[in-house]
């Protein structure tokens, strides 16, 4: 292209010629306007050439910019099916729905399933995982009792293990880019491409960017109709138009588009142009959000990947090309249906489909999803976490253009349950406290093995991509800190869970002469109590006394060891949770409890693959022993007691098995923050409730967050912790009043773990029938 102007310049008349022309013009003096015609023409041609160069650069920049931006694709965890896999019927249904598997009478196609009773026949799509290809296959899944009972292939033979395809949960796009679900030509059903060509640009494969005959035909048709009823633009011209969307409809603009179409065809082959068209064409509008490309439109209208569109849906999308507003399926369904049926007719006329296929498609009403997915991902909070973890290792530019594939830990089913629990409970609590919709929430759910983040809710409207409270709302954690104090005592202070601690009032002088006087939540001092009681009933005075005896610095160090990745000031107020932490940070700390003393920072990414599918980086399961596992087992036995008889006992009214879990409530001054962190065998969940303006919400940890947590665990069918077993510890029932060994007759006895040889030997008065508990307790202390 760059040669053109040079050629023109060479033709510019030199001095010799100028003389000749002057002579000639003298002869034609009668027509002075013709005198400089050659020069004028030359200038005009030069201008046209320059303009062409300008258009060329413009269109190529636009094209390349779109073409090479291959955003990172992000996937949820794939569901693994095997005999014994925990899988409730409703969860499997949800998984298949979210993966856009369609019910079919006989699941002949990948991506379909049939289901009768508890037997599901699934034709999997297959997927190229980097650790091995999962071919598409038909498997029969027998569910029962919340588990996979049997897994067989089409021939009835047992299958060990099947992985479903992972759900695509979003792309990482440059911030200036509109959202897009980019498709590659080979992912698009050939029928869509054929239909598009048949309807919009029959000569696409043969023309050089413009189709003069089509333009003439359209002009004639429009003339006859007296209005613009037909367009003669080729797909290439439409693509150019879509690059520079504007409502201007001038001849100048049309001419420019035509030139750019010709230029595009000069530089790129048909498939490249087609692919760009498929990703660029404007197909709808949702508020201020423009829907560009068939990939996104397929999600927007039918909530399925473009590869799974059927004929009726393909015809509908092709119909929309002409005018997404005019044919808006949600506002003008009849108009759209007429246009779609016309398209089906054209496809029959041009032998793209048979009459029978078209008739079958025509009999289907135009149906689009009523509630289109908002934004680029249904999981904005989780995607935010993924983006942050990726940014530690990659530049923005690589993430948005290198075609990376990111495999994450998100469990869409757990996420759906967490969102449902938040939606249900937060609304109810908000109403009950008259908070006018201002009660906010954040939830993080991790797997107790290795700290994989299974779900993340950043606010009560989980679809809203705004302030991500799960990561960014750092709030005082209140009593959530106490297990850290008690673990320090158990691991380093030589305490047992039955050791006596003092819950009498305490004053602590500050360096500036000020005094801090922590009080108990119920404003009652409980005197000497066994250590575990101070924890399970969350006594402030006893905790501060214990923490001061151990040393605040030691407690702060323990907090870091457990997983808080920053320094916290070691003030005495730390002992009651004056330290502000995000739900994610709390999860990191409690993760270490749930994993028996092994620290695994919460991670959202398993691996990142390059465009060729080779791992660029893995984020391997990482466990590091942070604390003596035995000490954590002691602590956890007390945290179970929190759920049985302590501040978490209310959970059982919402979730019966809650007594088999371990957890802790947290409440801050004037009831501003309501926290709960708790775990079973598989799940750890941290819930925070509060207001963005930090005003009181009138909810303690037990009255607020615990409710959301219980509802969540109920929805997850979360399994409780294993009953005490072969762990080398001594499990003993202890009387909470005396801290002595309990037996039948003792009310509210706690089942606690002790290191061998440290359990209380003496029986409590309740066990022997003695009534003088208090004096017995006193005697023991005085002795």
């Amino acid at each position: 292209m760059a040669r053109k102007p040079t050629r023109k310049r060479r033709r510019r008349p030199g001095p010799a010629r100028r003389t000749a022309s002057r002579r000639r013009s003298g002869r034609r003096g009668r027509w002075p306007w013709l005198r400089h015609w050659k020069r004028a023409l030359a200038v005009l041609l030069a201008a046209a050439a320059a303009w062409t160069v300008y258009l060329d650069v413009t269109i190529r920049t636009a094209f390349e910019g779109k073409r090479w931006a291959l955003p990172a694709h992000v996937y949820a965890r794939p569901l693994e099916l095997y005999e014994g896999a925990p899988l409730a019927e409703a969860d499997f249904r949800l998984e298949l729905k979210r993966l856009a598997y369609r019910p079919a009478y006989i699941p002949e196609q990948p991506g379909t399933y049939s289901h009768s009773g508890s037997t599901w026949v699934v034709h999997t799509r297959g997927f190229d995982f980097w650790d091995g290809t999962e071919p598409p296959r038909i498997v029969q899944v027998q569910l029962g009792g919340g588990r996979v009972q049997r897994l067989t292939d089409a021939g009835g033979r047992a299958v060990d293990l099947v992985r479903l395809d992972p759900m695509f949960i979003g792309g990482i796009y440059p911030s200036h880019h509109e959202d897009r679900v980019l498709v590659q030509l080979e992912d698009v059903p050939p029928l869509l491409v054929e239909a598009l060509i048949a309807v919009e640009d029959r000569k696409f494969r043969h023309h050089h960017g413009i189709d003069l005959r089509a333009i003439a035909r359209a002009a004639w048709a429009n003339l006859r109709a007296g209005a613009a009823v037909q367009g003669g633009s080729t797909l290439t011209q439409q693509l150019v138009k879509n690059f520079f969307l504007s409502n201007e409809r001038s001849l100048w603009r049309k001419a420019n588009e035509a030139v750019m179409a010709l230029l595009l065809e000069l530089h790129y082959d048909k498939d490249e142009i087609l692919e760009a068209y498929l990703n660029e064409v404007y197909l709808g509008q949702q508020g201020r959000r423009a829907i560009h490309g068939f990939g996104l439109a397929s999600r927007f209208y039918f909530d399925k990947p473009v590869g799974e569109l059927d004929l009726a849906e393909i015809a509908t999308l092709v119909a929309l090309v002409r005018g997404p507003g005019y044919y808006d399926p949600r506002r003008h369904p009849r108009r759209l249906q007429r246009r779609r049926d016309r398209i089906l007719d054209i496809l029959v006329e041009r032998n793209v489909v048979s009459a029978g296929e078209a008739a079958a498609a025509r009999s289907r009403p135009v149906r689009v999803v009523a509630d289109p997915p908002h934004g680029i991902t249904p999981y904005p909070a989780f995607m935010d976490l993924v983006r942050r973890q990726l940014r530690r290792d990659y530049r923005d530019q690589d993430l948005t253009s290198e075609g990376l594939r990111v495999f994450t830990t998100l469990d869409p089913v757990v996420q759906a349950r967490a969102e449902a629990a938040v939606a249900a409970q937060v609304a109810a609590l908000d109403r009950a406290r008259g908070l006018d919709g201002r009660l906010q929430a954040a939830v993080i759910v991790t797997s107790t093995t290795g700290g994989e983040v299974l779900a993340l809710v950043g606010g009560r409207d989980a679809r809203f991509a705004g302030f991500n409270r799960a990561l960014d709302a750092r709030r005082p954690v209140g009593s959530l800190i106490k297990p850290v104090v008690y673990l320090t005592a158990l691991a380093e202070g030589g305490y047992t869970l039955a050791a006596p601690v003092d819950d009498s009032p305490i004053r602590i002088g500050g360096p500036g002469g000020e005094e801090w006087v922590p009080a108990n939540y119920d404003h009652v001092s409980h005197g000497e109590v066994p250590l575990f009681v101070a924890l399970t009933r969350s006594y402030n005075q006893a905790t501060v006394r214990l923490g001061m005896a151990l040393g605040v610095k030691r407690v702060a160090a323990m907090l870091r060891r457990l997983g808080l990745e920053r320094e916290v000031p070691a003030y005495p107020s730390l002992l009651l949770g004056a330290v502000a932490m995000s739900p994610e940070e709390v999860a990191a700390v409690y993760q270490t409890f749930a994993a028996g003393g092994f620290r695994s920072p919460p991670r959202a990414i398993r691996e990142v693959l390059d465009a060729r599918g080779e791992p660029l980086k893995r984020f391997p399961l990482n466990v590091e022993q942070a604390v003596d596992p035995a000490a954590v087992a002691l602590l956890n036995s007390a945290l179970r007691e929190v759920m049985r008889h302590g501040t978490g006992r209310a959970a059982r009214q919402w979730f019966a098995p809650a007594g088999g879990f371990a957890g802790k409530t947290g409440t801050t001054d004037d009831l501003r923050d309501s926290w709960f962190a708790g775990f079973g065998r598989r799940h750890l969940a941290v819930v925070w409730l509060g207001r963005d303006d930090n005003a009181p919400i009138g909810l303690s940890g037990a009255a607020g967050a615990l409710r959301v947590w219980s509802d969540l665990m109920r929805r997850l069918h979360a399994p409780p912790l294993d009953p005490p077993g072969e762990d080398g510890l001594e499990w003993v029932e202890v009387d909470p009043a005396s801290g002595l060994r309990a037996a039948a007759g003792c009310e509210g006895a706690a089942l606690l773990a002790f290191r061998p040889g440290t359990a209380p030997g003496e029986y409590a008065p309740c066990s022997t029938g003695l009534a003088e508990r208090a004096s017995h307790w006193l005697r023991r202390i005085l002795r």
Binding site: Y82, E83, W130, D160, S447, T449, E607, N622, E624
Partner: protein, 154 residues
Amino acid sequence: MRRVAGWWLLVPWLLAAGCAVPPAEEGFTPVPEAERPVVVPGRDTPPAVRRLIARAREAARAGRLDRAEALLERAVRIDPRNPVLWHYMARVHLHQGRAARAEGLAAKSNSLARGDRLLQEANWRVIAHARAARGDAAGARAAEARAEALGAGR
């Protein structure tokens, strides 16, 4: 170099995991003490986990330790209480030169391996190697001593 070296170190594990390696390979190279004793998955290991162990073994034989690691992680997700899986992961990490991770994983295996002296011994040997690799000679000796004690009592 490390990848090649890792391959040899894995031989006993490959053997343990299912005799897929031709017996001729057994005497190829002096087997470092860290690979003794040989640990096999328990009899109650679910078929899905066995399948993944077998595939991890194949991957390791092909020199793809990252793949072996990923397959073992899948197995751990299915059967997180299985100390043998954590032990295998510890070995794979050790052979990839990630001593700190190997030690953490071996300790995790130990925390789940109550009463299984053979597995505990194997874990302490991994820990001894990991510590030696990090230049902690005293720690390595202590771990070695624990392994010896467990081995003697077996």
